[in-house]
Every structure is written in structure tokens, then in C-alpha cells.
């Protein structure tokens, strides 16, 4: 079973990388682009058979290490 953890900066936390990418997209002619936010995905191979259990485990991992909840939020999907 695979858990996909997506970590992004919290809303309201300045994302300079996102800003830079937004500028570059505008330069390329994608002028319709609004705010750009950058994050990361972490794929975890888990032995659990129960999706709810796998999700709970991955969320625990995210809170303890994968995300810094002072500045980042995360979501977990089970694939």
C-alpha cells in the first residue's frame, strides 16, 4: 500500500519559490496564472492492508517529521 504525503507551506506563509515560478510563467506568456505555491510529495511504501490504518500511520509520520506544522500543512492520500 502506498501513502502519498503532500507538504505545502501554510496559507499566509510567504513562498518565494512560488513567487519566482509565477513570474517566470508570466514571462512565458501564461499571464492567466494567479498565485503559485510550491510543495513536495513524499511517497511511502507501507505494509498495512487497511487504508484507514495506513493513513493514520502516515499522518503520524507527517506530524513528527515529514512536515513542520509551524509553517507547513500536509495531506495524505492512500493509493
Amino acid at each position: 500500500m502506498k501513502a502519498i504525503v503532500t507538504v505545502t507551506l501554510k496559507h499566509g506563509v510567504l513562498d518565494p519559490q512560488g513567487k519566482a515560478i509565477g513570474h517566470a510563467l508570466h514571462t512565458l506568456g501564461f499571464t492567466e496564472v494567479g498565485e503559485v505555491r510550491v510543495g513536495k510529495t513524499i511517497e511511502l511504501e507501507l505494509p498495512a492492508q487497511d487504508p484507514a490504518q495506513a493513513k493514520a500511520t502516515a499522518e503520524d509520520m507527517a506530524r513528527k517529521l515529514l512536515a513542520n506544522t509551524v509553517i507547513e500543512s500536509f495531506k495524505v492520500e492512500i493509493a
Binding site: 507551506l9 518565494p16 519559490q17 517529521l65 513542520n68
Partner: protein, 220 residues
């Protein structure tokens, strides 16, 4: 004051820190590898130097904050021990929850390698007693992630309880909230800051602006 310097893989300022400590304390600190699970007996001060522990993987300081030595550091803090974290050491302290807030990517996205001016916010601590409150001194900085951030309530608390140690006095180049360069724990025994006072402690380095930090600790 007996000091121990923690060494994580990827840390590169530990020798600078040894030199600064030895010069002010009159004896060399002990280097402690991160896989140890206990601090040397009688350690008064734990120092987390700068560098790029674990290659800054995931987030700066995130891996080091979970190293085997860290439970001993937390116990040391609970006993009222002194801790100094500089640059990556500051990032590790925030990741370990020993200081509030977080260090984000510099607002300019540029790595900053230059001198900055710092203002001493209070001189009644073991770290700053050899300065005067309001003193301004020069400190080199070398970081890509020095943009101090915390929620508004935390920033208000830090200022309200007078826990800001240093502020950028010339230009806030990394975008830190309220110009904060360093903070204390509520008991004033844990200090984290981004710039490197240990790199200006001898005339041969171009100045001794950072020496009062180590002289203060030596006198504590």
C-alpha cells in the same frame, strides 16, 4: 563553564566554534558525535554549530533534530542547562521544538554570504552580559534559510516577554519577521541565532565583534 559541541554529519563550523570557545574559556570544549546518547558528565553548555546537517534534506535541521543525542539535549534543557545554536544549530533547535518558530528560505531566494550588523536587545543574560543593551556589532552570515517566521501570537509573545536576543540593525536581508536574528527560551538559557559571532573573535579574522558572546558565557 564546560562546553560540549555537537557534531552532525554535514556540520562544518565546529572548528570555528572550538576556537572561539577555547579562546574565551581557556580550555577546549568536547566534541560529541550525534550518535552518542549522553552528554559528557558535567556539561554546562551544549553548542550546536553551523553547517548543513544531513545535507539540509527535507528541511534544514529536520534530520538532526531527531538524532540519537537529542533526547539528552532536551533533558539538559529541562535541567536548566545552557544551549547555544548558531545558523544550522538554530534551525535544529526550532525543528526540535526547543525554540519557537521556523527558519524559512531567504525572502530574496539568495544565499547570503556577507557581514550584517546586529543589535543586542538585552544585556542581562549569560549570553550577552559583556555587551550593553542596544549595542550594535558586526557578524558574518552564511545562510540560505535564515528567514525567521512564527505566527503573530508567538511573535507578540517573544517581544512581550523580551525574548528577542538580536535584531538585524542595518538591513533585514533574509526577510525575517520583525527583523529577528536570534531568540531566547523563556528561561533565557537557550539561545539560537542565524549569524556567526564565532567567526569574528580574533583580530586575525578581521575583528573581535563576536567575542563578547563567548566572554559572557565564560564569565557565567
Amino acid at each position: 563553564m564546560k562546553a560540549a559541541i555537537l557534531l552532525f554529519p554535514g556540520i562544518n563550523r565546529e572548528r570555528d566554534m572550538v576556537l572561539a570557545v577555547r579562546q574565551s574559556f581557556g580550555h577546549a570544549p568536547q566534541i560529541v558525535w550525534h550518535k552518542e546518547t549522553a552528554l559528557p558528565a558535567g556539561t554546562d553548555l551544549v553548542i550546536l554549530p553551523g553547517g548543513f546537517s544531513f545535507g539540509d534534506y527535507l528541511r534544514c535541521g529536520a534530520m538532526a533534530a531527531h538524532s540519537p543525542i537529542m533526547p539528552a539535549v532536551k533533558a539538559h534543557v529541562e535541567r536548566g542547562g545552557y544551549v547555544l545554536g548558531v545558523c544550522n544549530g538554530f534551525q535544529i533547535l526550532t525543528e526540535a521544538g526547543l525554540l519557537p518558530g521556523a527558519l524559512l528560505r531567504n525572502a530574496s531566494l539568495r544565499f547570503l554570504s556577507m557581514d550584517t550588523m546586529l543589535k543586542v536587545e538585552r544585556a542581562d543574560t549569560v549570553f550577552t552580559s559583556k555587551w550593553q543593551t542596544g549595542a550594535i556589532f558586526r557578524a558574518p552570515m552564511a545562510h540560505g534559510d535564515g528567514n525567521y517566521n512564527a505566527d503573530e501570537a508567538t511573535l507578540d509573545r517573544l517581544e512581550g516577554e523580551n525574548l528577542v536576543a538580536f535584531r538585524y540593525a542595518d538591513e533585514n536581508r533574509n526577510g525575517s519577521a520583525r527583523g529577528i536574528a536570534g531568540i531566547f527560551s523563556p528561561n533565557l538559557r537557550v539561545l539560537g541565532l542565524m549569524p556567526h559571532p564565532e567567526n569574528l573573535v580574533d583580530p586575525l579574522m578581521g575583528g573581535t565583534d563576536g567575542k563578547p558572546l563567548f566572554d559572557s558565557l565564560a564569565a557565567a
